[in-house]
């Protein structure tokens, strides 16, 4: 698990730092950042050894949901585990995300333990 390379996608620099800090405290050092869905797709093209995606939903240019759909529609990236981390907590949102084929879903604000458990659970299920 320590050799994973993460792609963290969020338009909020605060949230990116918080997620990255949490990942580093878990022992993960290989982390790539993106500021929105478009940027994230570009990063996936360049960094071909990304193992895990953590993405926000509401972002400019391309939302996290649209980004997830793009990832799932590309043969090169369709099996990447994806954790959605978002303020959206309505049941409709969760179902929409599951239909887009995210592996797991966390509602902000989250605890470091919650993110750790979700990552471990996703990795054990694939």
């Amino acid at each position: 698990m320590a050799n994973l390379k993460f792609l963290v996608v969020d338009d909020s620099i605060t949230m990116r730092r918080i997620v990255i800090n949490t990942l580093k405290n878990m022992g993960h050092q290989q982390i790539v950042e993106a500021v929105d869905g478009e940027d994230a797709l570009a990063k996936l093209q360049v960094e071909d050894d990304i193992n895990f995606i953590i993405t926000d939903w509401n972002m400019p240019n391309m939302t996290g949901l649209e980004f997830v759909k793009q990832v799932r529609s590309d043969d090169a990236t369709k099996d990447l585990p994806i954790l959605m981390v978002t303020t959206r907590g309505m049941k409709q949102d969760i179902l929409e995300a599951m239909q887009a084929k995210v592996n797991s879903y966390i509602i902000k604000p989250f605890t470091p333990q919650a993110i750790k458990e979700k990552i471990e659970k996703v990795l054990s299920s694939i």
């Binding site: 800090n21 369709k78 902000k108 604000p109």
Partner: protein
């Protein structure tokens, strides 16, 4: 000579008379309406001025809200820098403490061995006893298991507290979205007022462009364990394909029954594979659908 139809004339006179009677009844109403319009005119002028003034102030309100958001982001970034320092310093102190403990343990072992190797005559025995007694006291202060464990717990506590600060800083992202939602509303009002003023030929008002996809208007800073639990249960049910267990009660926060029926229909008709390697053919079909939707 044309025959005069008296009845026809009488009829027409009656009609004209009726018109005059009607006119007399309407006149006071028309006078009241004219009076109302005359009185409303200055009020409408005031409203027009207020709309222009408010319309000119709204971009300032939008800017102020953006400034608030930027200021909180800057302050949060500074706090994050300090929290990073706390983590690094704590880790450094922990590492140094561990090294010190290791060194002290080695030195103690050497001390005990050296003391034990001294000649045990009557003169030395008392000194040896004193040295061992002092050594034991030092050991109890710094090297015993519970002391070390206590110190490690304190380091861990610092880490936990720093993490709590980190997590609380999520407020910045959440409040930023709430501010964006407020800005969006102001922009909508501004744009509508602008169109009204433009239609009255008054001023040219620049439309404020906002994107509601960039924020969640329902974002809340709430430590709601039940909400996450609900999300987990719903996701689990979806992954297991256990659609029949998603009752109307589960979907009760949706807007109306039609939405619920649509979602249930969609779920029942959808392929139920989630980014795992286990499903082969189904994933092919699903990705074909997605390509179609993308185009």
């Amino acid at each position: 000579m044309k025959k005069i139809d008296v009845e026809d004339i009488k009829q027409r006179v009656s009609e004209v008379k009726a018109l005059f009677v009607l006119g007399q009844k309407i006149m006071p109403v028309l006078e009241d309406i004219f009076q109302f319009i005359v009185e409303m005119h200055p009020v409408l002028d005031d409203i027009n001025s207020s709309i222009k003034e408010s319309s000119s102030k709204m971009p300032k309100a939008v800017d102020k809200i953006i400034n608030i958001s930027n200021a909180t982001e800057l302050a949060t970034s500074e706090i994050l820098d300090h929290v990073d320092e706390i983590f690094k310093t704590n880790e450094k102190i922990m590492s140094e403490y561990k090294d010190n403990i290791d060194k002290q343990t080695q030195l103690f072992k050497k001390l005990i061995l050296d003391v034990q190797s001294l000649d045990k005559n009557e003169k030395n025995e008392k000194k040896i006893g004193e040295i061992l007694s002092v050594s034991k006291k030092i050991y109890n202060l710094t090297l015993n298991k519970s002391t070390i464990e206590e110190k490690n717990n304190e380091f861990e506590k610092l880490n936990i507290l720093a993490n709590k600060i980190l997590m609380a800083l999520q407020f910045q992202d959440i409040t930023s979205q709430q501010l964006q939602a407020a800005n969006y509303l102001i922009a909508q009002v501004q744009n509508k007022l602008g169109k009204l003023l433009q239609s009255l030929g008054e001023v040219e008002v620049e439309e404020i462009i906002t994107n509601p996809q960039e924020f969640n208007e329902n974002a809340q800073y709430q430590h709601d364990v039940d909400k996450q639990k609900m999300a987990d249960e719903l996701a689990e049910k979806y992954i297991e394909g256990d659609i029949s267990d998603i009752s109307e009660d589960d979907l009760s926060d949706m807007e109306d029954v039609d939405d619920i029926d649509d979602v249930i229909s969609q779920l029942e008709n959808s392929n139920l594979d989630i980014g795992s390697k286990s499903s082969g053919a189904d994933e092919e079909n699903t990705s074909d659908d997605e390509s179609e939707n993308k185009s």
